[in-house]
Amino acid sequence: MRSVRRAWVRGSAELSEGLRIALGNLVGAPLRSALTTLGIVIGVMTVIAIVAIVQGLNASFEAQISTLGANTLYVSKFAWIAQSRDLWWEMRNRKDLGRPELEAIERESIHAQAIAPMAMTRGEITRGDEQVSGVQLIGTNAQYLTTGGGSVAAGRFLAETDVDLSRTSVVLGSEVAERLFPGLGGEAILGRKVVLQGKPFTVVGTLARQGKLLGLNMDTRAILPYTTFLRDLGGKRSLSIAVSAAAEELPALEDELTGILRRVRRVPPEKKDDFSLNRQEAFLRLYEQLTGALYRVAIGVGAITLVVGGIGIMNIMLVSVTERTREIGVRRAIGARRATILLQFVVESSLVAALGGAVGTGLGLAVAQIVSLVSPLAAAATWSAVLLGVLFSGGVGLLFGLWPAWRASRLDPVEALRYE
């Protein structure tokens, strides 16, 4: 027991002695220490800045994508993400989705909780002299808001009777409403007339502000009954159909929809599906692939700079060992073991590198902050990234300090004491 305790006391005393020496050298030669660790500082700074920016992008992307319903399948002619040009052409030539598919799903699906068709086009809305162009016109039904994001700010959303009677009712996105009725807010515009592609419509409600989704302004929407859309804005358009279900029933829903659609569209058993079931997840996956590549590049660049920084540390440590040869001799003479000397130098190189890593982390975060101030990129740093930066550079210091420290520990005490 006593010897264990002694070894522990000795170990911790040697470690704190090593730290004390390392700090002494750090304070004694600050410029040299700074130059030693400069490579590490730059490497860590680069990686932290890139990681912070990518994480910021991820966070804002996830926030945006959540406006697409997480538990919603989007049935469409097109897959959201086309893997190749050929596939895109194949999808383009598919038969349009229309009312037969919608009605079949409404009639037969057990798992569906909400079903909303969507017909879309771009057009302009006018009211007197006010005109808004580039509005995303969406023809849908009363369940649209249940399948996707968004909420009503004033008035009401489309009702089933709007759809059944093909009424000329419209719900305006917040930006469309503001631009058509400048200075008028909320309830004041309900019941007013607007002209949509040359036809008069009645405003029944407005949507709350939503921001952008993947660069698409969600506040320049105008929503009308799909029956009216097909009648007045062109019936040849392919519908997509949003179907939502409880999260745990999504796989079952997927199977069910596939079955219904293949039957309605008369797809022979040997043929592949001539429609696509899209999910929000697909976007996330694509996005993760993109940022994953960026991550890998950042880590590659960071690794190279860290290796270069590590070589810088190794170089200075070798010089330091040579300069302190006599000191090493003295320490050995008064009872330092080889391992003690090794520890001392490894502690020193790790400490210098870890401090460089800390400084680099700080600078990297500052760079990320500046980038997010002057550009639309949002930066978000996580503690794990910071901790990783410091620990990783400490590890680099340890790794590249090992060889010089090993050389120091192998010095013959007699030779070392005699060294001039």
């Binding site: 006391v9 000795r10 006599r326 003295v330 008064i334 009872g335 073991r337 080889r338 004491l417």
Partner: protein
């Protein structure tokens, strides 16, 4: 009959230098009892540094035996030698060899760090050792704030603090003016009087003459062993005879 502190028998230390074998020590035998104050004297190249390194457990002999405090040193491994140096030997060097950035106290504590003593015990013992060499009021000074004599006193305190069996001093007055050197020699005399065993390695017959016993080396062999004054005279005679 108590065993001598140091027993050296037929000690050889050979080096390979450019294909030639240099016999730095060529069969040296002697023994030193506890409490002795012995000078090892000889000109440069006589082998006294090599002998000091072996006695100090910094080096191991090519052949022969060396027993320190009853233990055979020849077969020990590096870690065991380090521990032995830490416990049994206090070194005093010609150029003091203090750590420049550490205070006198921290310098003196260092051997105790390597021994694994607690901070409080290190502190208490080191303060005692510094007081014993007359530096009780200089403990927190750095080496460059101390005179040469004071630095050597710090080094002696560092050598004493671990209560070693043997003080091994290599030309301890070589870098000091004669008056300061005299003070240091007197300090060694005091330590001897208090029971410490001291080996003083020097090329100066004048210093050897003041030790109760001296061993003279020449060409790696013992050529004289006796009272310091006689051995010193022998050296002087040799020098005259050429």
């Amino acid at each position: 009959m108590q065993e001598p502190l140091i027993t050296v028998e037929a000690l050889h230390r050979h080096y390979q230098l450019g294909g030639e074998t240099v016999r730095a020590l060529d069969g040296v035998s002697f023994s030193i009892d506890r409490g002795e104050f012995v000078a090892i004297v000889g000109q440069s190249g006589s082998g006294k540094s090599t002998l000091m390194n072996l006695v100090g457990c910094l080096d191991t002999p090519t052949s022969g035996t060396y027993r320190l405090n009853g233990a055979d040193v020849a077969g020990l491994e590096d870690n065991q030698l380090a521990d032995l140096r830490n416990k049994e030997i206090g070194f005093v060097f010609q150029t003091f060899q203090l750590l420049p950035r550490a205070s006198a106290l921290a310098n003196v504590e260092l051997p105790l760090v390597y021994r694994g003593l607690s901070r409080r015990e290190r502190r208490a013992r080191s303060e005692g050792a510094l007081a014993a060499v007359g530096l009780g009021n200089r403990m927190h000074h750095k080496p460059n704030e101390l005179s040469g004599g004071q630095r050597q006193r710090v080094a002696i305190a560092r050598a004493l603090v671990g209560e070693p069996s043997l003080l091994l001093a290599d030309e301890p007055t070589g870098n000091l003016d004669s008056q300061t050197g005299e003070e240091i020699i007197r300090l060694f005399g005091d330590l001897h009087a208090r029971g410490h065993t001291i080996i003083l390695v020097t090329h100066e017959p004048r210093l050897a003459a003041r030790c109760p016993r001296a061993i003279r080396l020449s060409d790696g062999r013992v050529v004289g062993d006796g009272p310091g004054s006689e051995i010193a005279a022998l050296g002087a005679a040799r020098a005259v005879l050429g």
